[in-house]
């Protein structure tokens, strides 16, 4: 845009007579490349793992049952064998809008009967953090003793009268070995990977602009 008035003469210090030269630190370039490539690769692997592992994994499902609708007779419990100290997660099988699903989850209560006869109550409205996927949302987790465990779920009143209609529908649940966090291991790759890629980008820019050195 400077028309013919201006003669383009290259970089200011890019002449044989320059006293200065721009030096690019190869070590910084290498570190930048490793951070950028490694970070991006880790992020991609993390995303793939999250996509594959997050939520209910059929291989870990130990039982499937039905949640008894509100005001209906109790549904038969599902049973499975467990070893001492193992943790299990109850997932509600339900898709749809988040707000509707959250109300259904909050209106769901499960009871896990341990071999020694003690009960573990799992209430959707009392879990600290719920994990949701496209088709499932957690009701909660519980620990067991060794032996056969029986789990029964039912819908309980939650929210106003007008919002309880969904709780009168029948929903399905699954019991999965482990906690929801077991499926989120990909985050350990994704988050540091993104941080490394960000640092790598900064390092690449720094390497590319280089620093001035006197020509000896």
């Amino acid at each position: 845009m400077a028309g013919d008035d201006v003669e383009h003469a290259g970089w200011a210090i890019d002449t044989p007579a320059s006293r200065l030269r721009r030096r690019r630190n190869p070590l910084l370039g290498l570190i930048a490349l490793v951070l950028l490539v490694g970070g991006l690769a880790a992020s991609v692997v993390g995303i793939v793992r999250l996509a594959l592992e997050a939520g209910v994994d059929d291989a870990r499902v130990v039982a499937r049952g039905t949640v008894a609708p509100l005001d209906a007779p109790p549904a038969p419990p599902v049973t499975f064998a467990a070893s001492a100290g193992e943790r299990f997660t109850v997932w509600l099988h339900e898709g749809g809008p988040d707000n509707v699903r959250e109300s259904i989850v909050a209106g769901t209560e499960c009871a896990a009967t341990r071999p020694d006869g003690t009960l573990a109550r799992v209430r959707g409205s009392r879990q600290g953090t719920s994990v949701a996927t496209d088709g499932h949302e957690t009701i909660g987790t519980f620990a067991t003793g060794a032996g056969t465990i029986a789990v029964a779920c039912r819908h309980v009143p939650f929210g106003g009268w007008r919002n309880r209609g969904r709780l009168r529908d029948e929903h399905r649940f699954v019991v999965e070995r482990g906690t929801p966090g077991d499926g989120l291991a990909g985050l350990w790759l994704l988050l540091p990977g993104m941080a490394a890629a960000g640092l790598g980008l900064v390092a690449v820019l720094r390497w590319r602009s280089g620093s001035l050195r006197s020509r000896q």
């Binding site: 845009m1 400077a2 028309g3 013919d4 008035d5 201006v6 003669e7 383009h8 003469a9 290259g10 970089w11 200011a12 210090i13 890019d14 002449t15 044989p16 007579a17 320059s18 006293r19 200065l20 721009r22 820019l205 720094r206 590319r208 602009s209 280089g210 001035l212």
Partner: protein, 477 residues
Amino acid sequence: MGRARRMLEGTFAKLEQAVERMNTDDLSKLTPAERERYDGWVARTEAINAGRTVEELGDPRLIGRVLHGPAGEYVAGIAKLDKRRETIEDPPAWKEQMRAERAERDAVRMSYLAAERHPVRITRVATRGKTQVEEVADRLAADGLAGRPELVYGVYRVPDLISAGRMGGEGRGVVEWDVVHAAEQDLPPAAPPVVCTLAADDVLVARRIGEPAPLDEDLALHLLAGAGVGPERTLGIARAVAIEKRDGGDDNSSMRILASVRGVHLLAAAGSPPLAGDVGREPLRIPEGPPEGVVVDVLQWDAIAKAIHPVRQHRPPLPSPFPYLPLTPQELLRAYLEIVGVSPADSYTAQVTHGRPFDLMGRTSTRTGVRRTGGGPDLPCADGKPRQRMAGGHHVVVAYRDRPAYADGRARFDAYAETELKAHLRRGLDLRLPVPKPSGRLARTLDRVADVADFVTGDMGVEDGFVAPRYCWPPQP
């Protein structure tokens, strides 16, 4: 009845005096540009009262404007361009058209050129923002110009933003510099020049409230004069122009790309005495304007750019709607140097630059109200690599040791500007504005509270409009 009438007349007379006093007070508060417009209106009213017709005096919307003629009428909204007008998109054809139009302008300019004039070459080099001054100084030494300052008109940071869409500031970006010189053959390398940089937010000049703030060149010229360095040893006085992006909100609707002057660089030939001297130890008492015998001429460029370069990321459209106007600020700079006949040995500076903070987001789209950071073709840069470019530049500034021949040259340039460019290039400059009164303690506290509120609401970076004068803020008691 007679007594009542006398009382009424007396009251009216007092009222008129009061209105006169208020008008005088109001007029004293006008900036020079506002005063120019006011005087223009007064002159027009007097001319009409004297019997001249409205048709003779022209459209009142051109009062106080830099451009008159067809371009002025277009910029003022009096006339519109033909929307069906076709422009050249193909770069080689564009260049050919540019050269054809330029040849016509050069032919018109011929009759105004100084009989004794010197070559004007503008060499553009690429630097990295963070080390730009060091790199330019090194280039001046490598090209030998640092050893022949009498061949250099000036150096300046090209006020364009290159690759506006890239992340980060200009520190690692490409910043170009122009070296305006008269060397027609290669020179042997020379010693690196003496460089001195002054920060605009330092109180270097003693000014009281109401006294005119110094121009960057005024301060630099007084320092050079104090150091005994004349134009024959000076390589340039370059305003330190910084261009930075400022987010204005979540939707970027008020994002700004501000070009502002952070200080001034002084470059002189090797072996010159220290340029800054005692500056900074205590504020200098320098008179208004440049030292005696030195001319600082500031010309409007952006007013022309509005007419011939409507979208700053694109090439100026060709055929130009106003082919009599220069296409680039460098063409205007060259025209000034060649018409006035300035010798590089007399020149302290020749630069295309900015004055007050200037938002480059203006004129970034053909649509009114639309502001874009991207768009536009990749255009050649000094290093040979094409990149997106936002053309900046508000003023053309030239400072030189005056001679009688130059006074004639300036008269020729004024005639050229008025007749051929149909422009008043020194209008509306608002240079050396009076130093304002600093806000009181209560206002400062409120400002701080507002800053905190802006931080909390995420409106940081939104300016309040106040621009502190450079080198003399806050004023002396």
